[in-house]
Symmetry: C2
Subunit: 310 residues, 2 copies
C-alpha cells in the first residue's frame, strides 16, 4: 500500500540526566516516518522546514526511502525549533524553547505522487491543518489515523472535535483521554470518544503500555518493554504511532487481530527509540533486531493456560 | 498438593464513594484462602481471632473447604479490626481505625494436619512471625511465597530482610519494590531484590497489572482487566496472591511458563474482587465465570504476529 504522513520536521535540543544535544533532527513527522519506513516501503511525508534545515538531515529521511517531495523548504525562514529538559527520572519535562518559525504559516501541499495513498497519518498539529490534509486528498484514504495533544483541547476544542469526527483512529495518552472525554475511567473515556466518530482508539500509557479499543469495546493491552534506563523519551509516542500505521499500511488488514499486531509493532519501535537521543536509535535498525524484540514481547506477554485444569 | 496460608482474619469496615459497610469479614488470610480455594482443594489457614468473631464468618471459610483448625480463637480477646475510607477515584485510602487486639500477641500454631504442606503462603504480617511459620514447618515447604508492605520496611527492616532471604517468591507493589531496593527503575529494583534470596519476584502495579521476574531476568507482564468502575479495591492484592499460589499448588509446576499462568489467574481473581465490597464477590464464583474471564484475558493480551512479514 501507500502511506502519507503529515507532521513536523524540526530541530530539537534535548537535555536529560544523561547528557544534552545540540540542534538535532526531530519533529513528529520525522519520528513517524522513520518508524513507519521499516514496514511500509511507500512512505510519503508532508511537512515544512526553513532554509536553515541541513541537507544531511533530509538525506536521513531519503535513505529510508521516505518520499520528501511533500516537505516544503521555505526561503528566508527558519525551521521549527523545540527544546526540552527532562528531570525526576524522566517523569517530568519542561519545554525551554518553542519557536514555530516556518511552521506558523504551514499550508500543506500534497504532491500528485502522494494522491491515492490508502493510509494517512496525521501527526500532532493544529487540528484545522490536519483537517485540510484530509480534504486535500482527492480520494479519502481508506484509513486515517490521528495524533493530538492536550494543548489543542485547551486552545481549539471545537476544531479538534471536528477533526476527530473525521478520522478512523485517534491516538492519545491517558491524561488526554480523560481531559477530552471528561471521564476518569479509561473505559468510560473510550466509550465516549468512540461515540464521537473514530472507529478505533489508542490510549497510550507511557511506561505502562497502551490500550486499543474498537466501537464494540473489544480491548487489547500491550505493555511497554520493561527497561532499566530510559535514555531519552522524546518522540516515543510518534515512533509508536509510526510503527503502528506502518504495519497496518504494509499488511493492509484492518481486522482487530491485525491491529493487535500493529500495537505490538508500535511498542517494539518505541522501545528502541528511548535507548538513545532523538532519532539516533531508530535511524539504524536491523530487521533481525526488530524480530528479536518482537520475540521479547512474545515472551513478555504470551501464555498458554489449559482452562480444563480449572 | 497442599497449601498452608498464614495471614490475618479480621473485621473490616470499608467506605468507598459507592457506600459503606459495617464490620465485615476481612484480613489478608481470608482473601488469600478464599481465592486459593478455587484452585487448591487442600487449603489450610493459620491465623488468630477473638471470641467476638462470628461463627457465620468462619462458616464462610469452611464452605470453601478451607481447613480452619489453624485459626486460634482467643478467649476474652477481640478480633483484629481495620477500617478505611477510599476517595479520589480510589487512588487514595485513609486508614481510620487499626485495632490489633488478638493479633498483637499472635503466636502461630501449626496443626499436625498442616505439616507437610508443599506450598506455604505468608500473608502480610510482622516479618518475624512470618519467619516463625517457616521454622515451625517440620519440613521446609517446596515453595514459600511472601507478601509484605512498606510499613515493615520502615519499622523492622532487618527482620524483613532476613525473612525475605528465606522465601522463594516475594510479592510487593511497585512503590514498595522501589523503597526496598532503593532503585527507581523496576528492572534495577528486581535485580537487587533477586540478589537477596528470592528466586522469583512479583511487582504489583495496581490498575497497571503486575510483573513477574526470575533470577535470569525472564520477565512476564500481566495487565489488570480494564474496568469502568472499581467498587472496592480492599483485598485485591491478597486475592491476586491467593489465585497465584492456589494455581501453583494445584498444578505443582514451578516452571516459568506455569508461573505466567498463575499470574493471569491472580489477575483474574483480583478483577472479580474489586467488583463488590470486601470478599462478597469472591465468596460466590462459578467455574464458568472464572474460565470466561480467563478468555477475556486471552483476548486482551494474546496476539499472533507473522514475523516473516517483516
Amino acid at each position: 500500500m501507500s502511506l502519507a504522513i503529515v507532521g513536523t520536521v524540526a530541530f530539537d535540543a534535548i537535555e536529560t540526566p544523561f547528557g544534552k544535544t545540540d540542534k538535532i533532527i526531530g519533529g513528529a513527522g520525522t519520528y513517524i516516518a522513520l518508524s513507519a519506513s521499516y514496514f511500509e516501503k511507500n512512505t510519503n511525508l508532508i511537512s515544512v522546514v526553513g532554509e536553515d534545515f541541513p541537507k544531511d538531515y533530509l538525506e536521513i529521511l531519503k535513505k529510508h526511502n521516505i518520499d520528501i517531495r511533500g516537505i516544503q523548504i521555505k526561503k528566508g525562514e527558519k525551521t521549527f525549533f523545540w527544546s526540552g529538559k527532562y528531570h525526576d527520572n524522566m517523569n517530568k519535562r519542561d519545554t525551554l524553547v518553542t519557536e514555530l518559525n516556518s511552521l506558523a504559516s504551514f499550508d500543506p501541499v500534497i504532491p500528485d505522487a502522494y494522491q491515492g495513498s490508502e493510509y494517512l497519518m496525521l501527526g500532532n498539529l493544529t487540528p484545522s491543518i490536519q483537517r485540510v490534509v484530509i480534504e486535500r486528498m482527492k480520494k479519502r484514504p481508506k484509513f486515517v489515523m490521528m495524533d493530538t495533544m492536550n494543548f489543542w483541547m485547551d486552545k481549539t476544542p471545537e476544531d479538534l472535535k471536528e477533526t476527530v469526527s473525521m478520522v478512523d483512529l485517534l491516538c492519545i495518552n491517558d491524561e488526554e483521554a480523560q481531559q477530552f472525554s471528561g471521564e476518569h475511567s479509561l473505559i468510560a473515556a473510550a466509550e465516549k470518544i468512540l461515540s464521537e466518530g473514530p472507529k478505533f482508539l489508542i490510549i497510550k500509557k507511557g511506561k505502562h503500555g497502551a490500550l486499543l479499543f474498537d466501537k464494540n469495546m473489544n480491548i487489547f493491552s500491550a505493555p511497554a518493554l520493561p527497561v532499566k534506563t530510559v535514555f531519552d523519551p522524546t518522540g516515543a509516542g510518534d515512533t509508536f504511532a509510526g510503527g503502528f500505521i506502518g504495519w497496518l499500511a504494509k499488511t493492509d488488514d484492518l481486522s482487530f487481530d491485525n491491529m493487535k499486531n500493529a500495537l505490538i509493532i508500535g511498542s517494539v519501535m518505541a522501545s528502541f527509540n528511548i535507548e538513545k537521543f532523538g532519532t539516533e536509535r531508530i535511524q539504524k535498525l536491523e530487521k533481525t533486531e526488530i524480530s528479536e524484540r518482537i520475540e521479547r514481547f512474545i515472551r513478555l506477554t504470551q501464555f498458554d493456560i489449559e482452562t480444563n485444569l480449572l
